[in-house]
Point group: C2
Chain length 322, copies 2
């Protein structure tokens, strides 16, 4: 069933290239990215996050990554020479971005810069986001791993953001361990702690709750909704863009172009690369842990030994978590 | 996150063999079914639905089906010679069951007989379920395809059941088109229309909402929750048993045995047989239609032509629905 009015405040931020790049080391062709941009634009999706704008100088071991790992403005302008309605976004991580890489917005094809941080790094995230804001960008602060943050630490982070000029703050379920009741709790907490801010949500699908969590947030007034086409994103992946288009039913949204993109690219890509609901990712979601141990397990010869993996994670003395 | 108290009223009915049989024509080995029974029993799952108890005389074209399609009590007693805590269930369809096939419960390994019907066949379902009740079984009436029933017809069906001796009534999302808000509406409607009845819920995963819908119903007091291991069920499949075990967190539930069953059987089976989130099933869910057109499409050479399928379903004059 669909709902034609209650989601009119929502906007979709498609993260296929940025979060999906964590799956295939950003090995997307220019044609792929161009097709995705055209499809999202036709579908009415408001934002496309086309990669990271971190600095390769600050991130070792990433030399073989595709160009969406360290976006270059000139390159991006060649890929998308004519921007249409869909705006372009990039993510930066606190500690990995060189602020000198961020040109004034008038000289960049990017519209939105999102700053990802852990709650403990909120002060630094505010500093960066404020700077990018001054350079003309829309900005957000995305607080990661909320299921592993002490409530008092989160309250303090929200109080700091509340006094800053940052416009949008994201609830990020990095481990895919939250359910709709948790989302309701967090949205209420963010609302109480943040006066006059807009909210966003980024979910992962470890427990097959990414869409339900996103819809729960949207029903509560959260405005920016992250999603990826066919769910492509790290480990269990994200809320699916095609499902969000179908469920939000805003009159400007059109499901069909994204179905075409899935047909042309995503099904074949999913046969070569792995993401989505797999038991090791479900296990880390259930245990409220970062998926890195599950990703390593899926890359090992024991990849389908679920009991072995479960036993190691639930008897941690035999398997250090990090 | 988990919740340790609010689901204490819930019981799980695992439908892997019955609904999963719709995927592989009930071609499960005896060893598979025995392993599943042991795993569910160790996991603390209350019911295992081990097949259909329809009559082959009343269902043409099913000659090649496996033995779980038309359960035989003697055969079932050989498969599971020693019943443990997990009770056994069978489903019958109105119009396809010969009531003479249902022995008194004292002579059968079955504990629960569930009668599936469309709302228009409720009178017949009540008659059958009452008869099986008199023969000693626990019984339920499962009203299918609720997203396609006129509200007045459903109200009339509930009024009839309300006056019957049937104990449990199921909300069945046959098309996988409902979301948590729809479930809330239906649970409230069933509660209003059915005095002193217990409720159950059976979901499909076309929109990746099967778990969220099931949890929503459970939070509202619905007691019997259907699920299948690794989601195996017709088309997009069902709510996953392993996820329900993880989320309900009842002290008697144990996730580990079902993870073992998935490792031993389900991953290999999923490579040979197809179910789960696939775009044609998502499309029929979005359009609130029976998945039969999508199942036929997936069996055709055009199986990955999603735009073609979408265009045909949304311009029905070119593609009759049934």
């Amino acid at each position: 069933m669909t709902e034609q009015r209650k989601f009119s405040h929502c906007q979709i931020v498609d993260c296929t290239i940025r979060d999906g790049g964590l799956v295939n080391n950003w090995d997307f062709s220019v044609e792929f990215v161009q097709d995705l941009y055209e499809s999202l634009n036709e579908a009415g999706v408001e934002y496309m996050e086309v990669g990271y704008k971190n600095s390769p100088k600050l991130l070792k071991g990433a030399e073989n990554a595709g160009p969406w790992r360290f976006l270059n403005d000139d390159f991006l302008r060649k890929v998308i020479p004519e921007k249409k309605k869909t705006k372009l976004s990039a993510l930066v991580d606190v500690g990995r971005v060189d602020e000198n890489d961020i040109l004034p917005r008038s000289e960049s094809p990017l519209d939105l810069i999102r700053v990802a941080c852990y709650a403990r790094d909120t002060a630094k995230a505010i500093e960066l986001a404020t700077l990018f804001n001054e350079r003309g960008y829309e900005t957000t602060i995305n607080i990661m791993a909320l299921s592993n943050v002490m409530d008092n630490e989160l309250s303090e982070a929200l109080a700091m953001i509340s006094e800053s000029p940052i416009d949008v703050v994201y609830i990020v379920d990095s481990y895919g361990s939250l359910d709709p009741e948790d989302i309701r709790y967090l949205v209420e907490k963010f609302r109480r702690g943040l006066k006059n801010k807009r909210l966003g949500v980024h979910t992962h699908n470890n427990m097959q709750l990414a869409l339900a969590n996103t819809l729960t947030a949207a029903e509560m007034g959260v405005e920016l909704l992250d999603a990826s086409v066919y769910g492509m994103g790290r480990a269990a992946g994200n809320c699916h863009t095609e499902l969000l288009l179908a469920k939000l039913s805003k009159s400007k949204y059109n499901l069909r172009p994204v179905l075409g993109m899935i047909e042309r690219y995503m099904v074949g890509l999913r046969e070569r690369e792995e993401w989505g609901y797999l038991i090791p990712y479900m296990i880390t979601g259930v245990l409220d842990e970062h998926p890195r141990s599950a990703m390593a397990w899926r890359a090992s010869p024991e990849r389908d030994e679920y009991l072995n993996f479960y036993d190691r994670l639930t008897t941690p003395e035999t398997f250090p978590k990090s």
